[in-house]
């Protein structure tokens, strides 16, 4: 049952036209998680939409891996800042 939830990396790459080395590089840089079960590699389902997003950056927007890595960190910070901004705006409304 658990294995049904996992997405075989090679199958995903084949269907999506994404190079296996690209997904491996994302994993090596700590941007996504790959699980190995009985010598077969799977993409963590929680990370699938992230893989798709990073693949769009690479293949559709022509951004190289170094750029993707930098952008990923900046996006994480940006999302955290947006969250902070929302809670600060809430607090600020108390004084309006």
């Amino acid at each position: 049952m658990e294995n049904e939830e996992l997405i075989a990396m090679e199958v995903y790459c084949d269907h999506e036209g994404v190079e296996v080395s690209f997904v491996e590089a994302l994993h090596d840089r700590g941007l996504i998680r790959i699980t190995t079960v009985k010598e077969q590699r799977f993409i963590d389902p929680e990370h699938l939409s992230r893989v798709e997003k990073l693949a769009r950056m690479h293949y559709d927007l022509d951004i190289n891996l170094e750029g993707i890595e930098a952008i990923s960190h900046l996006l994480e910070r940006m999302e955290a800042l947006q969250q902070d901004m929302r809670s600060l705006s809430e607090r600020l409304r108390l004084y309006e």
């Binding site: 269907h15 036209g17 699938l48 559709d60 927007l61 022509d62 947006q82 809670s87």
Partner: protein
């Protein structure tokens, strides 16, 4: 309003396919929703850029667009009508002008436009084989009272009715994932996911900060001075409050557990903070003035 795809991409009408591709990538790197999370303006701009690129990067569509402008999608129908007009000239044809009337195809254009955008998220450009369906994004608007209780809600996502349970305590801007309710997959692949972002309208009475609520309550002068009780309508129902004697203006009291429910922690609530605003009486009678003067004298002597 007419859309000029060349202007959208910032290229000349005689631009090469390579120049179009380069212009699209440059603009997409700036406005792509992946790089601009929670930015509706960037999303809208990217849709325009994407639509322009889809049309201009395909030589066939580009040719049609150059000839028919915005109505390029109906080029085949125009051409068929053109031919028919030639053969039916004796009967007066379609009477000249736009044979399809104004705006009659608005609905169809919108659907096509959505397809163009949806296609961007399905897989690499132009590939027919796809694995997993695209994720859908939806927004649900609630008021504060709506977010206070767990309730069912029916959402219309791409023409499909989806019934979801909204857990009490959702935050403004919070996104929840409904697995498998996105676009259908192909080749037996799974559906994508549906992401719903909640937008909670501010309440005129209560201010919410995370799990706590804040309210300002007016207390009349005598109750503030001598103490007393007042009834406060909270989201949990009416609560009787004891106002301490000599309560000062802007005094804040905490009502434990009368705040907002904590998301996915049943039975756990934040606190309610009540700030008292002491209201000074107006239109004093002569007798009241006398008594206050008496009070003033007493206070001055003390």
């Amino acid at each position: 309003m007419a859309t000029d795809y060349y202007k959208t991409l910032g290229v000349e009408r005689n631009a090469t396919t390579e120049q179009i591709k380069a212009a699209y990538r440059k603009l997409a790197r700036k406005h792509h929703p992946d790089l601009n999370p929670n930015d509706e303006q960037a999303k809208k701009r990217f849709q325009e850029i994407n639509e322009a690129n889809e049309v201009l990067s395909d030589p066939e569509s580009r040719k049609k667009y150059d000839k028919y402008g915005e109505q390029w999608k109906h080029a085949d129908q125009f051409e068929a009508a053109e031919k028919q007009r030639g053969s039916q000239q004796a009967r007066g044809g379609f009477g000249g002008g736009d044979p399809y009337g104004g705006g009659g195809y608005g609905g169809a254009s919108e659907a096509d436009f959505a397809d163009l955008f949806g296609g961007m998220f399905g897989g690499r450009g132009g590939r027919q084989v796809k694995f997993r369906g695209p994720d859908y994004q939806a927004e649900s608007r609630l008021d504060l009272r709506g977010a206070y209780k767990t309730h069912k809600q029916t959402l219309n996502v791409n023409g499909k009715q989806i019934r979801i349970t909204v857990p009490a305590g959702v935050e403004d801007g919070q996104t929840i994932k409904i697995g498998g309710h996105g676009g259908p997959g192909t080749n037996g692949g799974p559906h994508g996911d549906l992401y719903i972002t909640f937008r909670i309208a501010p309440d005129p009475k209560f201010q919410r900060v995370g799990k706590d609520l804040y309210i300002t309550e007016t207390v009349d002068l005598t109750t503030a001075l001598l103490g007393g009780t007042l009834t406060l309508d909270t989201l949990a129902g009416a609560v009787k409050l004891n106002v301490a004697p000599e309560t000062q203006n802007n005094t804040k009291v905490k009502l434990k557990g009368k705040g907002f429910p904590v998301y996915k922690k049943e039975g756990e609530f934040g606190d309610l903070y009540v700030t008292y605003t002491v209201e000074l009486p107006k239109n004093l009678t002569e007798r009241e003035k006398e008594l206050i003067k008496e009070l003033a004298e007493l206070r001055n002597k003390a």
